[in-house]
């Protein structure tokens, strides 16, 4: 479990100009964990895809959203949450095929539509890919 994990939370306004801040933040965290530069680029892209979708779909519904980075020994779990739970399941398989393909290709685990109070969406990357 994640008993020894460190939690870092980032709250951002739902505005396009702050998506790059999410990229910079996750880049620093992933670098600190020891991911190589190529994997860090992948994680940045995945985080940015989700942030962009919230900005596109959610800016009329909420003012901000939260990214929760859970740093454990061998895994970076990135969760997304918002006070407006209608932002759950924002990816649509018909319209977001590029984004969904990118998330699934770049991350080890992706849960797009989580039915609990903690997160709306999570994705994880392992330092040594789980077999």
């Amino acid at each position: 479990m994640e008993t020894s994990a460190d939690i870092i939370e980032l709250i951002l306004p739902l505005k396009a100009e702050y998506v790059s801040i999410a990229r910079l933040t996750v880049s620093g965290i992933a670098n600190r964990m020891g991911f190589d530069i190529e994997i860090i680029e992948d994680i940045k892209v995945a985080v940015s895809e989700v942030c962009s979708k919230y900005v596109q779909k959610g800016s009329s519904l909420a003012e901000k959203f939260k990214i929760i980075f859970t740093v454990s020994k061998d895994c970076l779990k990135i969760g997304f949450d918002s006070e407006d739970k209608s932002l759950r399941c924002i990816f649509n398989e018909d319209n977001d095929d590029f984004a969904i393909s990118i998330l699934n290709a770049l991350m080890d685990e992706v849960k797009l539509c989580i039915d609990d109070d903690e997160y709306l969406l999570t994705m994880s990357k392992y330092l040594e890919r789980k077999m």
């Binding site: 190529e38 992948d42 892209v45 895809e49 590029f98």
Partner: protein, 109 residues
């Protein structure tokens, strides 16, 4: 000629004899996507020529930017023109492959 000045994204256009050279530098994400779309589509409509897009200074692209490239391909195809991409960084080329867009463009090293 510099035709886009948003700090995070710069687009340069140069008319050559057989094609138009377009240099894109910076980040093509949701923040810059509207400008990328406007400028790229305008270049295609205005010049009615093949495009060679130099991506060697393009540091980042997301699905929004990729969608605009796909739209540019359709626009160019409508007037029977081609788009060449040069200098793609590995992390960006990877996204073209993941999304299948690598099959639409002529990708040169």
């Amino acid at each position: 000629m510099v035709i886009s000045m948003k700090q995070e994204l710069r687009i340069y256009e140069e008319q050559l004899s057989d094609y138009v050279k377009v240099t894109i530098s910076g980040e093509a994400d949701i923040y810059t996507s509207s400008e990328l779309k406007e400028r790229l589509y305008d270049i295609i409509e205005k010049n009615q020529a093949d495009l060679k897009i130099d991506c060697s200074q393009l540091n980042y692209i997301d699905s929004t930017g990729l969608g605009i490239f796909a739209g540019a391909f359709k626009k160019a195809k409508e007037i029977d023109k081609k788009i060449y991409l040069t200098g793609l960084k590995n992390n960006i080329k990877k996204l073209f492959v993941i999304t299948g867009l690598d099959k639409l463009f002529i990708i040169e090293e």
